[in-house]
């Protein structure tokens, strides 16, 4: 049995439209999620001990700078405390 192709232009147009619509519907959620991601990913690995906080990687030098800034702020706050008592 051999299949004979019937070159009807309407059939081709319907076929192309149908396939295009199907692909669009299939991919629409993916495009929506890509445009405005709402997933909470990446998955956060939980330690049994302490959960890893969401902070950027701190290199040693940066950590020192951060510590100094923190120290300065603490000093400022502590300096204000006696004035509050007065």
């Amino acid at each position: 049995m051999k299949m004979v192709l019937n070159p009807n232009p309407m059939t081709f147009i319907m076929l192309i439209l149908g396939v295009s619509t199907f692909i669009l519907i299939m991919l629409l959620p993916a495009f929506l999620e890509l445009k405005k991601p709402r997933d909470a990913g990446p998955r956060t690995i939980m330690d049994n001990i302490i959960a890893i906080p969401r902070l950027p990687v701190i290199m040693e030098k940066e950590k020192l700078v951060l510590d100094q800034v923190l120290y300065q702020k603490m000093t400022e706050i502590l300096a204000v405390l006696p004035n509050l008592e007065a």
Binding site: L27, P29, L34, P42, P56
Partner: protein
């Protein structure tokens, strides 16, 4: 005559593809079943008292952007530091990898750095790991890639499995760190979810062939030495080692709770390089181990069957291409005589609705079990990675045959570039 040959070929291809789709469903259902059982069962703490000396190998070739991160992770591990040795193999790096690692080695006495120059180093991961193995003193040898970042108690979780003398190796779960970066990293993350959360978990639960993934895993030192370590002559040294472990009569356990972050490839070019290496390496393993797996007296029938499917998985995209080439002319020009159109339509429709989507169901279930809310909206896009894998695997197979015919070594190691993009850690 040609038509009959094409028909026979098409039937064989359909049979092979059906075998893989059944495998996908069995794995998916097994994981769903396993998870519901685990929820019901009380959580038992593993033999945490078992803390043998361990060595952690970190091969690194030009990894200055990420080496500090993993070493920082190593310092945060909760495993007793007096029982832990971390060996960084600075494999002929031309950047500051060695210097950064040395900085950590100065402040932590359990971190050691091996510097390999251009003469001895730069020959690939297997060669670097073997150099590290020579210096390793631990009973259990772990290896982590430089772009990884481990969970703090990962060693305890992995090492606990070695209380069973039949366990020769363990494998932990890999989670993509830079997932939000772009569409490539998002799709790789989905592939990883399917591959680890479902595939690996199911193989472990069903007592099949759990695969050592080349990183986030460990071996008994004695077994590793007796197997002569990693084989540098094969591109998928991890898969090769997996089958050598099983053929030696040991098992590999997959521990889903032992998790580690990885940095996924960020663009399609790197994706091609990585998958090409995996495909070619896997195919090398298939040629090397398929017959041994069938003949082995150490493997049960189910392990043999799963081993063969695992070894040959990278041939699938090539076979799909072949089935298209064979199927389309057969469909248009020669309908099978032995089926009426009606009876042909039923299996075709069934396969189209259920069969083609089997791997996607697997990923979807993995995302669901991970509690991901919207990640599976991207699943339809995985069709593009599947289509992309067709030329990758076809080229890998063609190159393998050409190199065999010409007798040339085709094991060029295309290193993946890691940029150290962090989204969660520290």
């Amino acid at each position: 005559m040609i038509v009959e040959i094409l028909e026979a070929l098409f039937l064989i291809l359909t049979f092979v593809m059906t075998a893989y789709l059944i495998r996908h469903y069995v794995f998916t259902l097994s994981v769903l079943n396993h998870t519901s059982k685990r929820k019901k069962a009380a959580v038992t703490t593993k033999k945490e008292a078992y803390q043998p000396p361990v060595s952690i190998l970190i091969p690194a070739h030009n990894e200055e952007r990420v080496i500090g991160r993993i070493l920082q992770g190593m310092t945060k591990l909760t495993y007793p530091k007096d029982k832990m040795q971390v060996i960084v193999i600075d494999d002929a790096s031309t950047d500051d990898t060695g210097e950064t690692a040395e900085g950590y080695a100065k402040s932590c006495n359990y971190i050691k750095v091996i510097h390999r120059n251009h003469g001895e180093g730069g020959k690939g991961k297997a060669s670097a790991l073997n150099a590290g193995l020579k210096q390793a003193e631990g009973e259990i040898i772990f290896c982590f890639d430089a772009d990884y970042y481990p969970q703090r108690d990962i060693i305890e979780k992995l090492v606990a499995e070695f209380t069973d003398p039949k366990v020769g190796a363990v494998q932990g779960r890999v989670t993509v760190l830079n997932e939000p970066q772009n569409v490539v990293t998002r799709l790789v993350a989905l592939e990883r979810i399917g591959g680890y959360r479902v595939d690996q978990q199911a193989r472990d639960s069903l007592g099949l062939i759990s695969q050592f993934g080349g990183t986030v895993g460990g071996f008994r030192r004695g077994l590793l030495v007796s197997l002569d370590g990693w084989d540098g002559s094969i591109l998928a040294e991890d898969t090769d080692l997996t089958f050598r472990v099983y053929l030696a009569g040991y098992k590999i356990r997959y521990i889903n709770e032992a998790e580690c972050y990885e940095e996924a490839v960020e663009n399609w070019s790197d994706y091609w390089k990585q998958r090409y290496r995996w495909a070619k390496g896997h195919m090398q393993c298939a040629f090397r181990h398929s017959l041994k797996v069938l003949k082995s007296s150490n493997l049960r029938l189910r392990e043999k069957l799963d081993g063969l499917l695992l070894l040959n998985v990278y041939f699938m995209p090539v076979l799909v291409l072949l089935s298209w080439i064979v199927g389309v002319p057969l469909f248009f020009f020669h309908h099978p005589q032995w089926f009426s159109i009606f009876w042909t339509l039923i299996p075709i429709s069934l396969y189209s609705f259920v069969g083609n989507f089997a791997p996607f169901f697997e990923v979807g279930i993995g995302a669901y079990l991970d509690g991901r809310t919207r990640a599976y909206w991207l699943i339809p896009l995985l069709i593009f990675t599947f289509l992309y894998n067709i030329p990758i695997c076809t080229k890998a197979l063609a190159d393998l045959f050409i190199s065999k015919i010409l007798g040339k070594n085709c094991n060029h190691w295309d290193k993946t570039v890691h940029n150290g993009n962090s989204y969660i850690i520290n």
